[in-house]
Symmetry: C2
Subunit: 501 residues, 2 copies
């Protein structure tokens, strides 16, 4: 414990989780560490949920991104969450969001702390941050994610640290904490390479502001990513083939440009595909590192990876911890404001690969809303990267629910990424390169390259009838969302003609 809690004056502030939970008041705004299950607080969410079961306690909860340990579900079911931002991926919380019981604000992950600093969202009353250690000056060494913790700590009235004795102290040195200055007078972020360090190894804080320390001993929740299948391997092949073409055309070198890859099964599979691809000395500038990133480092394909979080399956997590020294030389974890910052994304020239729920004939992407209304997880960092990427790639399987849902639709029922921000669309059937194409040129390519063959004819029929009506972006406005309407009514986007065929 002395090795972890190096600030002597703080030793007296170790209290139980129940005591710590008693510090919260109804209506408070709370900032918690945690980003895609990694580095989340392990004790206080359950203790706060327990309180909410017996008394009126409603909090506005802001995190980095999603939490592990079923925390979001527990807190939602207990009625603890009045307001939740900027991202979640829990089935029970999602249900309450879609029922209108929890007010969820779905944000670009780089922008939450900017809004906090501006006072556009309420000030953080209490920050709760998981730590591997506390340095002699009070500095908080994060664990497997940085998320928004540095800005929560800077702004909070009181700081509570969950000191997790399960986390190796070897994590010290893997983080790089840099928070942009206030404006006016803000200076450029001095990061010009993915492996550069521009900040401090710990979150700076006056020890007097650390109100309590709770000791925990829990691992992160393992990632729920599925292994590659035939479809995701096909998607990976299309992307790698495309990138090889870019190298052959002289538009990229064989070290490519820094890679960002969204969370999830498809994106993870795409990265796994790079293990055997003819690229070398790759670097990642991403928000989350999944199993695939570790596999690429192991294979010598990726020489350095920058992110805000590391989310691994159980066996890879174990190997990661065993060889932590090795990985710590090749990985840096940053605040999500920096990992996802437009300034850096544009400057480095990122190749961004993110997952779409559905996309349309003209390249508009829905990342979040099933059927246009029901929130899945949130936009996350996809917009931070897609808008300013050198190449903005979106991937999806061409159908879902056994073929009843086409991921390629006449018009998406919710737009997260406009056609301005999408260069390349990929499904298991192929890749549509939309660069330098007007909407009327995009549609046939999207249909031919990406749509499932069962839906191609109807998509082309829609496009041809719409085109006959004229317009830069042809649509039959009375019919544009009819596929979603049909699905809501019949459980399938298949038309009667298709069902009979």
């Amino acid at each position: 414990m002395m090795e972890r809690l190096q600030c002597a004056e703080l030793r007296s502030r170790i209290i139980t989780v129940t005591q710590a939970a008693a510090l919260f008041r109804d209506g408070m705004t709370v900032g918690m560490s945690g980003f895609t299950r990694a580095g989340d607080c392990k004790a206080l969410p359950a203790a706060l949920a327990e309180r909410a079961r017996h008394e009126t306690l409603r909090l506005n909860l802001i995190t980095g991104a999603s939490l592990g340990n079923d925390s979001d579900g527990l807190m939602a079911e207990a009625g603890l969450l009045a307001r939740r931002l900027p991202f979640q991926s829990d089935a029970r919380l999602r249900r309450r969001i879609n029922e209108g019981q929890v007010m969820f604000i779905d944000q670009h992950l780089s922008e939450t702390v900017e809004q906090l600093r501006a006072g556009h969202i309420p000030k953080i009353d209490i920050a709760v941050v998981e730590a591997a250690a506390i340095l002699p000056d009070g500095g908080i060494v994060p664990t497997m994610s940085v998320g928004n913790s540095a800005s929560f700590v800077a702004q909070a009235e009181r700081v509570i640290v969950e000191l997790n004795t399960r986390m190796p102290t070897g994590l010290m040195g893997m983080h790089d904490i840099y928070v942009p200055e206030a404006y006016p007078g803000r200076q450029p972020i001095p990061l010009t390479e993915p492996d550069q360090r521009i900040g401090t190894p710990a979150i700076p804080v006056d020890p007097a502001r650390i109100a309590a320390i709770v000791v925990t001993h829990h691992p992160d929740s393992p990632s729920s990513v599925q292994p590659p299948d035939a479809d995701t391997r096909a998607i990976a092949r299309h992307i790698i083939g495309f990138l090889e073409g870019e190298v052959a055309a002289g538009r990229l070198s064989d070290t490519l440009l820094p890679l960002q890859v969204g969370i999830g099964t498809i994106a993870n599979a795409v990265m796994h595909g790079l293990v055997d691809a003819p690229f070398r000395d790759l670097r990642m500038y991403s928000e989350v590192l999944q199993d695939s990133a570790i596999a690429l480092i192991d294979a010598g394909r990726v020489s350095f990876a920058s992110a805000s979080s590391i989310t691994l399956s159980e066996p890879v997590y174990r190997r990661f911890m065993e060889r932590l020294d090795e990985y710590a030389r090749r990985i840096v974890l940053r605040p999500q404001e920096i990992s996802n910052h437009c300034e850096i994304v544009r400057r480095l020239g990122i190749i961004a690969i993110n997952t779409a729920l559905e996309f349309d004939l003209y390249g508009n992407v829905n990342s979040t809303h099933v059927g246009g209304t029901r929130m899945m997880n949130g936009i996350g960092g996809s917009g931070d990267f897609a808008r300013h990427a050198h190449l903005s790639i979106f991937v999806s399987k061409s159908v879902a629910k056994g073929g009843d849902i086409s991921s390629v639709v006449p018009m998406v029922a919710h737009v997260d990424h406009t056609e301005h921000d999408v260069d390349i669309l990929v499904t298991e059937w192929g890749l549509a390169d939309l660069r330098n194409l007007a909407p009327r040129e995009r549609a046939p390519r999207v249909i031919e390259c990406c749509a499932h063959p069962d839906y191609r004819e109807e998509l082309m029929d829609y496009f041809q009838r719409a085109r006959a009506q004229g317009g830069h972006t042809p649509h039959l406005v009375g019919e544009a969302l009819s596929w979603h309407e049909r699905h809501a009514r019949t459980g399938s986007m298949r038309s009667e003609q298709m069902a009979c065929a």
Copy 2:
């Protein structure tokens, strides 16, 4: 002429516009200066259109933004334009775009040259740039806009200069030419204040690459902005009242933050409203300066304005030229990549005010497509600013076409700006502050604050019925676009009930 053409070796390259037009070949990609009518080439568009009337000559034309002098209409009617990007605002060109005769690519104005450098759009064969002077080293001094000219010149096979003897040589020194480096290894853009100069006063070019000089003597086309009316004055009052509230709440000082204001009548009126508002020492970091910017400088309200273009009405243009020395001390014109760059917009903390065609209950904005299909002008720089602004404000009159079109609709028929990028919506009826609100909280506020009273009841009825179905962003997907469909069918969004009432 010696004062303007200071590079001796170039004097022999003065040719007629007909000779210059003969340098173009069918299929070429051409980069032309011009941004919202300012600083456009005055001679070559008409000469090229004339050629296209008699022979097969189809060009891909890339500009800064819109051209003046009816150039876009002339070129479109002559069949000269195969492909046009990234923006236009000409009625005749617009018709051909919507008929599918010109392939228009609607882009964020900051991103075109990034795509050129990356090779994602074809290389510029010939750059045509208006100049007030050519320096001894060949450096091209732009006129009333910079646009994409510096990058066109850097990339083009051949450069043609239109030396405009109508433009005062006093424009020398008003421009600041900075182009970001190639990556990898790109450095931060060293701009931290709107009035800072980081580049050169002229566009650098090896004189050997200037193939021809054409001498012209035409003024810029005057802006077509309408004077403020009762509605736009009400919109201005709502915004000023809101900003006063932000100052009172301590979230802004009375010098506010740098202002960006989109092109057009409403935005211009909002800025005019600032002449009498209790703010001081304002600075603009915008893409276009309109009459209102000059009025604010004259009134001592704006101490400095940075932009990429100056577009004025005839009388203000005349006054500007008469007092050029005075204004030149308070204005800098930059490449549109820099005036609109995400890195700078985020760093400075811009207050961005842009015009919406329509917006919906949840804050999604359509800036471009009438009825969801027909292109108006293009997204322009609105996305460059709105995404990363400190405050992202969109304005619109609540109705159009004598009340037959509501600008507040259940769902926009085309999305240019997602709810993630919109903080404030304003019509003549009021201002909806959407910060820190979930979609279900946004809808009633948008209806009550912004919708025209004639449409409020139906909007609320839609929202309530949608909310009863559940979902984070409640919609009746079969009905969401019915207002647009009704308008296409009947010429009005008014329902039968409303028509009878």
